[in-house]
């Protein structure tokens, strides 16, 4: 059983943020009020149904009745109750929309159908890592359609609206691993736009460690390209297994192939085609994908270096051994990269995969100064348009 499962109840997921206590007890308060009225109404109904049912020898009255006292009572009492409910709802809401002065600010970008999180030190990850007992503020935007950020365990939800920046905050109070859901319908893979156990609440030290680690993309272009593929949302639409179509075409064995566009032109899947596809996806669509959900443009979101890295990665996707490594369950790990010759030899303890990083992060608490610096140097300065 995960730590996070503790204090899960019949009605609620774990109480992992400061909002949980108030919202849950308010939820239960409304529950008791409602139960009272429900039992009253149904009780009276059943009683009248049996007491006054048509039967031989019984003759009911049929004239109208009036009872002012009764009518006033059943107007005034519910009114008072709903005023109380309204007020307490506002009270809880004010807490939810007023972040404290000191917060850790994380930028969230949602796109069909993935999340990416940019941390204060520039690190970008597709999972959310936050320290326990620290207020976190999310600055959120969507690059395509509406999405909504919802972590049930935090009792926190806010929509991401393209063209606007929305913010929300929460303060985790329990370490553990939680789910993140998209709750605003956003198309084909809406139900896959989740981070199953992708929200990590850890101690502040562990968070800091992870952060330092995550800020460093691999330096080898192929590994870097894969790193971007996994973090910048490509993964949710493009597979790396041959012929597996998620929404867009698979990346396996594409490079160098010549293909037909929807207008019947023939193009070669080369550096320029890749570049155009990423920056201006609607310029040429591949045959058979006219009705697919549109790829968002990455214009202004990826640097030239990153485009080159992605290109290198796509080019490597020609090789069978690379494909089989990348397509297996844990993706391209550090070890895989090294064995294929794409590794960054200097820091062999590191892994390229986000999930794997999480586990190994505890292992190497202290790292040489120099690495920190190299991490800084290569850290992506993408998302500049925020």
């Amino acid at each position: 059983m995960l730590l996070a499962d503790v204090n899960e109840t019949f009605w609620f997921p774990p109480k992992a943020s400061t909002f949980a206590q108030e919202t849950d007890s308010f939820f239960m308060a409304i529950m008791w009020i409602s139960t009272f009225f429900f039992v009253l109404i149904v009780g009276v109904m059943l009683y009248f149904m049996t007491q006054y049912r048509r039967r031989p020898g019984y003759r009911g009255d049929s004239r109208a009745l009036h009872n002012n006292a009764l009518e006033i009572t059943w107007t005034v009492i519910p009114t008072i109750i709903v005023i109380w409910i309204f007020a307490r709802g506002v009270y809880g809401y004010m807490d939810m929309v007023r972040p404290p002065a000191e917060t850790i600010d994380i930028n969230v970008t949602a796109r069909k159908w993935d999340w990416s999180f940019q941390y204060p030190n520039g690190a970008i990850s597709d999972t959310l890592h936050v320290p326990v007992n620290k207020a976190v503020r999310l600055r959120m935007r969507s690059v395509d359609v509406l999405h909504s950020f919802f972590v049930p365990a935090f009792r926190a939800k806010t929509d991401l609206v393209p063209g606007r920046v929305t913010t929300m905050w929460f303060e985790p109070i329990q370490e553990g691993i939680y789910d993140l859901f998209c709750t605003e319908y956003c198309g084909d893979q809406h139900s896959e736009m989740i981070k199953r156990q992708g929200v990590f609440v850890t101690s502040y030290d562990e968070y800091e460690q992870w952060l330092a680690e995550a800020a460093k993309p691999p330096t080898h272009p192929v590994a870097h390209g894969y790193w971007l593929y996994a973090r910048r949302g490509c993964k949710s639409c493009h597979s790396v297994e041959p012929d597996r179509r998620i929404v867009g075409p698979s990346f396996a064995k594409s490079y160098g192939e010549s293909l037909t566009t929807s207008t019947g032109e023939s193009v070669v899947f080369d550096e320029n085609y890749i570049r155009e596809s990423i920056l201006n996806p609607q310029a040429k669509a591949r045959e058979g994908y006219q009705n697919a959900s549109q790829m968002p443009s990455y214009q202004g979101q990826l640097t030239e270096d990153e485009l080159m890295a992605i290109t290198a990665f796509l080019q490597a996707m020609k090789q069978d051994d690379f494909i089989s490594v990348v397509a297996d369950e844990d993706g391209l790990t550090k070890e895989d990269a090294i064995s294929l010759g794409f590794g960054d030899e200097e820091d062999s303890a590191e892994t390229a995969e986000a999930g794997a990083q999480e586990e190994t992060a505890e292992g190497d608490g202290t790292r040489p100064e120099s690495e920190e610096a190299s991490g800084e140097a290569t850290s992506p300065d993408a998302e500049q348009d925020q």
Binding site: F19, T183, Y185
Partner: protein
């Protein structure tokens, strides 16, 4: 004059001239101006739409038995839930009670021969038909995947037939507006002498309130879908951020219609329940004036609460709080209506027949639907529950547990009047029990799913939720069976049903004074207008004769043809 002896020459003549058979042939139906025939055609239309969308619901529930894709992929799932929602809302619930039952009942309850504008009435029926065909063709041809809400910018960028579907909605909107207009004029001008506003049956009050919303709110929907189509085709830049539009603006537009539309859906259901509770309790309605006024109050307040669909969309805090407050204000009149219905039974003579059982189920289910609205109106809990299964369960309790169950109750209640046939009480009750059990089994678990965090519109979900989903699906199939039994009951009654007396339940509203089914002219002589809830002069004879007036009601009215009342 009422209660014509069954064997009299008059009765036989009315029998020959009943609206179902007095003229024959396809054209006599297709071009009819008779509100009763139009109502019946609507009934068939909306029921077909309902069964279509209901089958889609079962497909959805079948798919959701497992956390992963079983027989539908995500895209198909999205199209199916869109179809289900869109058909249910636009083709079934909105026209169900007003267009089908309302058309049949409004003129008869007024003792009139027809609605004010019979041609307009036929016109709205054909608008409904063509809108429906347009809409369905568009959606089945390429599959629409926007959800019934058409939220932008998804709807402006997806490949589906959005423009065609919105045009369908646009046409359907006109049908709705014309029907509303017709009823407003009919009720204003054609009340018979003696029927003042406060002598009107409550069903008419509810229809009147509904019509006001239809006329005032539907144009906004029309504008919204036109703007949406324009945005899609010409990028006018109002909803799509890529062209400097704002998606939240779309939500304001959309809910400005669609929240009042919730009352288009529920108010007529409430009207039906007011009639059913009184007639089957053989007891004058408790708090007549309150129920009448509250229908209008709900209709008007309903225009001010649309923002409660957008508590997480990033509206300003003050706006959000105001919308929450306004939302709670509309809850009070609805709550009091429930108390009034219960008080109506007090000391009455409650006959637990099929329509009454449906009415009681309505009270049970609608109470749950209304109470669960408290969680969603309150801001802090709504932030958590918004767009989860809690909301799904809540609005199904209101729309299905409320409107659909009320509609079924109404269909059973007026079935003998519409067709002249009695139905099987036993099987009617069985259908009610199955619907009741199935419905609760389907939607109660969804409240728990929602509070545990299951988002709506998910084709696949995390495995923890499976157990509750399976229970819900089983419930859905029981509900489905219940509805098919109900359908079977009415079809069986058409073929084998015993002949219905003019007044099988003991109702005092005017429709029970003409024969069952009514002659095409409704009333041979103007009916006597009396208090619609005064049951004292009615006496039960036997199954064949039903209820009859022992002494003519006292209100004296001129024995002339009912002239339009001066307003």
């Amino acid at each position: 004059m009422s209660a014509v002896p069954a064997d009299s020459a008059r009765a036989q003549q009315e029998e020959r001239e009943n609206f179902l058979v007095f003229s024959k042939g396809f054209l006599s139906w297709a071009l009819t101006l008779d509100h009763k025939r139009i109502g019946l055609m609507y009934l068939i239309g909306v029921m077909s739409a309902f069964f279509l969308a209901g089958i889609l619901a079962l497909l959805i529930r079948l798919e959701l038995m497992t956390p992963t894709n079983t027989y539908m992929n995500n895209q198909t799932y999205n199209q199916i839930f869109t179809l289900h929602g869109a058909i249910m809302v636009f083709l079934f619930i909105i026209p169900s009670v007003p267009a089908a039952l309302g058309n049949f009942l409004v003129p008869i309850m007024l003792g009139a021969k027809d609605v004010a504008f019979p041609r307009l009435n036929l016109c709205s029926f054909y608008l409904w038909v063509s809108g429906a065909i347009f809409f369905l063709a568009a959606m089945f041809y390429t599959g629409l995947d926007t959800g019934w809400t058409f939220y932008t910018p998804y709807s402006t960028t997806t490949q589906g037939p959005v423009v065609a579907a919105t045009l369908g909605v646009f046409i359907l909107g006109f049908s709705s507006i014309f029907t509303g207009l017709n009823f407003i004029v009919t009720i204003n001008t054609m009340r018979p002498p003696g029927m003042s506003w406060f002598k009107m049956p409550l069903f008419l009050w509810a229809t009147y309130a509904t019509s006001i919303i239809q006329v005032l709110a539907t144009p906004v929907l029309g504008i919204t879908v036109l703007l949406l189509a324009a945005e899609r085709l010409m990028h006018i830049g109002i909803f799509d951020p890529e062209y400097n539009g704002d998606p939240v603006t779309y939500q304001h537009f959309f809910w400005f219609y669609s929240h009042p539309a919730v009352y288009i859906m529920i108010l007529p259901g409430m009207g039906i329940i007011s009639e059913l509770m009184s007639v089957h309790s053989h007891k004058s309605i408790f708090g007549y004036r309150f129920i009448a006024y509250s229908s209008i109050a709900i209709a008007l307040f309903g225009f001010l609460v649309w923002g409660h669909h957008m508590f997480t969309s990033g509206m300003a805090d003050v706006t959000t709080i105001i919308f929450s407050a306004l939302t709670f204000t509309v809850s009070i009149p609805s709550a009091i209506k429930v108390f009034n219905w219960l008080a109506t039974m007090y000391k009455g003579t409650v006959q637990l027949n099929t329509p009454m059982l449906y009415a009681l189920s309505f009270i049970f289910l609608f109470t749950i639907g209304g109470l669960t609205g408290l969680w969603l109106g309150a801001l802090s809990t709504d932030r958590v529950l918004h767009d989860t299964y809690f909301v799904v369960a809540h609005f199904h309790y209101v729309m299905v547990g409320g409107t659909l169950v009320g509609f079924l109750g109404g269909v059973f209640h007026w079935w003998p009047k519409m067709t002249g046939k009695m139905f099987s009480e036993l099987w009617g009750k069985v259908s009610c029990a199955l619907v009741f059990i199935g419905f609760n089994l389907t939607f109660l678990p969804q409240f728990v799913l929602g509070s545990r965090g299951m988002p709506r519109r998910y084709a696949q979900y995390v495995p923890e939720f499976q157990e509750l989903h399976v229970i819900s699906s089983i419930g859905a199939f029981i509900l489905g069976i219940g509805l098919f039994v109900a359908l079977g009951v009415v079809i069986h009654s058409l073929m084998r049903g015993r002949k219905a007396p003019p007044n099988p339940w003991g109702g005092a509203t005017l429709e029970w004074q003409c024969s069952s089914p009514p002659p095409y002219y409704n009333f041979a002589t103007p009916p006597r207008v009396n208090d619609p809830y005064d049951y004292t002069p009615l006496e039960y004879r036997d199954a064949e004769r039903g209820w009859e007036y022992v002494h003519p009601p006292t209100t004296d009215t001129p024995a002339t043809e009912p002239e339009p009342a001066r307003t």
